[in-house]
């Protein structure tokens, strides 16, 4: 961050709220003015002619999964209808405490939705990549793996060896050569995902 950044505290009035300036992340609007709600640094982001005021606190931000985020999660329970998992990372930030989430049968893959069977897609202990769906009435986050790049990235065979993907529906154990069905993610060799993988592998 720059040395000359603008420091603000919660409750500090930043600007008038009009056609040019609008309130963004870390700010709130009250009676036509924009106030800060975090202690941190003011950023002005220009977006389609609008100036969006944002406040970013230093140190680690509190990250909460929001709609559209790519998350890394660990499956812990599977049933006929859904798989339950704990979100471990959002984007490339590792969370201190995990969030509960659920993947319904309908959101496992794009095609042949009605033929999906959870136990052929995930097993407890699998590490998956998924996208966060809009938050509805339900009490936990809903995830979707209905994209080629999403699905299981790390899985262990019944004998406990890390498996290697052989197709988009199967993974193979290198020791026993047993093939197990999974909804495999096509991992794009991009910096972001490899970062997550290395972090996760250290944890496993």
């Amino acid at each position: 961050m720059k040395e000359d950044s603008l420091v603000c505290l919660p409750g500090q009035r930043l600007s008038i709220c009009d056609k040019i300036y609008t309130s963004g992340q870390g700010t709130y609007e009250r009676k036509g003015y924009i106030y800060s709600m975090l202690g941190g640094v003011v950023d002005i982001v220009e977006k389609n002619g609008l100036k969006v005021l944002e406040v970013h606190s230093n140190g680690q931000n509190t990250v909460i999964p929001s709609q559209g985020d790519i998350v890394t999660a660990e499956v812990y329970i599977i049933t006929q209808q859904h798989a339950k998992c704990h979100i471990k990372c959002i984007g490339n930030t590792v969370l201190k405490s995990s969030f509960r989430a659920i993947i319904r049968k309908e959101y496992v893959r794009v095609t042949e939705k009605d033929k999906v069977e959870i136990y052929k897609s995930f097993r407890p202990g699998d590490i998956i990549l998924a996208r966060v769906l809009p938050i509805t009435e339900a009490h936990s986050y809903q995830l979707s793996t209905a994209e080629n790049e999403l699905g299981v990235v790390i899985a262990h065979s019944e004998h406990g060896y890390p498996m290697i993907p052989v197709s988009w529906t199967e993974m193979q154990c290198p020791k026993t050569l047993v093939k197990e069905p999974r909804k495999v993610a096509k991992v794009v060799p991009e910096n972001m995902t490899t970062d997550i993988l290395s972090v996760l592998q250290n944890n496993v």
Partner: protein, 280 residues
């Protein structure tokens, strides 16, 4: 009160020895007389003067945000932890929740406190929660709970106010969205004299009714308020004792004024924290 049997508790019927000493020594009434005659308090303060405050954030490295505050001899540590999902809840709530725990350390008061929360501590937790609930943007934390723990290490009066002010700092450090900066002050009332930020002896003095003839004024009690600085809103108000409307109103004014005195201190502490963060 239920006793925690898993810990070794002190003998059930023990009494601090000071009780027997005090009976012959300084009573609240005499102490007040001295104070009233001198026109000053035992530590040399004016009646409406706040004690010096030492405030520091980042006292607990494990916590997301924390603060340590000293007001005279009163020492309080407050830590705030990462928002987590509300445990044991099946329905989704659009608003977040706060969980406050106010605790006196066993050795913090003249009388030994138990490890379990007693009624006073529970009440203080409630007041603290109330004060902070109006300061935190709960709608920004749907279905989340923020845990706030305040531990009093030495209670020399106004511990609750100290805890609330420190909790405000700790919450900002933790990056919890807040509407405003929160400060809290206590005032003790006895015979129309307002003692801002009373120490524990003065607190005791303000809880009793003087019997002697020369004290005709019935007013006595404690007032605690918490204020949101920019919005000029009182987010919490608590009074006990026996106080008339006029005294209550004037007490409120004194408290509001004193809150404004503390605000720059809190701001300074926070700005220091933020600029340090930028440099590193």
């Amino acid at each position: 009160m239920p006793v925690d049997h898993k810990r070794i508790n002190g003998p059930e019927e023990s009494v601090p020895y000071e009780l027997f000493a005090r009976l012959s020594g300084l009573t609240s009434e005499k102490a007040f007389e001295q104070l009233y005659k001198a026109g000053k308090r035992s530590d040399g303060r004016e009646f409406e003067e706040h004690r010096k405050i030492f405030l520091k954030n980042g006292a607990v490295s494990q916590a997301k945000g924390s603060a340590y505050i000293e007001m005279g001899q009163t020492k309080v540590i407050v830590s705030v932890f990462d928002p987590r999902e509300i445990p044991n809840r099946s329905d989704y709530s659009l608003k977040g929740e706060l969980y406050c725990e106010f605790k006196f350390a066993p050795f913090s008061c003249a009388k030994r406190r138990l490890h379990q929360q007693d009624n006073e501590e529970k009440q203080y937790s409630c007041i603290m929660k109330k004060a902070l609930e109006s300061a935190v943007c709960l709608h920004e934390l749907p279905n989340f709970q923020v845990d706030i723990y305040a531990l009093v290490m030495h209670n020399d009066g106004s511990a609750l106010s100290a805890a609330i002010t420190a909790a405000g700092v700790a919450l900002v450090e933790a990056g919890v969205p807040m509407y405003d900066i929160i400060t809290s002050v206590t005032v003790g009332i006895q015979q129309g004299v307002k003692l801002v930020d009373p120490d524990s002896l003065e607190e005791q003095m303000c809880q009793v009714q003087f019997l002697s003839e020369k004290y005709q004024d019935n007013n006595h009690g404690l007032l605690i308020i918490s204020k949101l600085h920019t919005q000029e809103q009182l987010c919490q108000f608590y009074q006990n004792g026996y106080v008339s409307l006029e005294v209550l109103k004037s007490g409120l004014e004194v408290l509001s004024k004193t809150c404004e005195v503390i605000v720059p201190l809190v701001q300074k502490c926070l700005i220091k924290h933020i600029t340090n963060g930028i440099k590193s």
